[in-house]
Assembly symmetry: C2
Homo-oligomer: 118 residues x 2
DNA sequence: ATTACATATGAATATATGCTCAGATATTAA
DNA sequence: TTAATATCTGAGCATATATTCATATGTAAT
């Protein structure tokens, strides 16, 4: 009774649903970029960095003290956040002050916070 | 010239910034829950599942066909999304139809998509 | 009951990833 | 230049995690 067929070793029950999903799907490049964005926030250390920077810029050793992790660990994570352009820094002498690149991240974290609190 | 001091093997340059960050910080439990939310979307397979379900419910084998991964893999990921209450299902005979639990996830993915597209 | 289908699940494996450690780079002061 | 501070970086290790494989469960039809 089920109108399925084999394709790529996968059963398909509702062919039109699958076709529809394929039609609406984002291009691989976008999927990748969105996933990377979420990965950036999917780690406690990085998430806490982002949340801390929402209240103002901080330097590496302050962040390390606040997070209670090594400065090396913070630096590694900041590089990742930098590469994703979620944070930027300004140098003042030997110390680098990090801040959020824009307010998009804050919007997202705010939304998620609302979600988990209700 | 720098007014730092040692504490927990960590240098602190701007004591008041660190104290401020501590004051504003979320409680550990909330951090954990927010991070878990992001982790749910930080994987290509799960992200594509969520995005696909935004256009309507789908059963496991349809999802497997759409994603081009095994049904077992999909099932494992769906369990994770279920545990985080991001998706729910309804049974119709032997087939389970999965759908988004609410529209919070869609709001978040929408926001992130805007971000990466600009 | 038995068969078939749809999905779930546990264990194992392979890959990804966060942290540490050692050392490098950059900036400033002496 | 030398020393000191702040940060960065690569390699290695230990843990986390996504997928596979084999098997179990649940549902419906015969």
């Amino acid at each position: 009774m089920a109108d399925y067929e084999d394709r790529c070793q996968c059963r398909i029950i509702h062919e039109e649903r699958v076709a529809g999903a394929r039609k609406m799907a984002l291009v691989p490049n976008e999927i990748e970029r969105v996933a990377h964005f979420f990965k950036a926030l999917a780690d406690n250390t990085r998430l806490r960095i982002i949340l801390a920077l929402e209240h103002g810029e901080m330097c590496v050793c302050d962040l390390a003290a606040f997070l209670a992790v090594s400065e090396s660990a913070v630096s590694h994570q900041l590089r990742l956040l930098r590469q994703l352009q979620l944070v930027t820094n300004r140098r003042q002498g030997p110390v680098l002050y990090y801040r959020l690149a824009d307010d998009h991240v804050s919007q997202v974290t705010g939304l998620v916070l609302e979600h988990i609190r209700e």
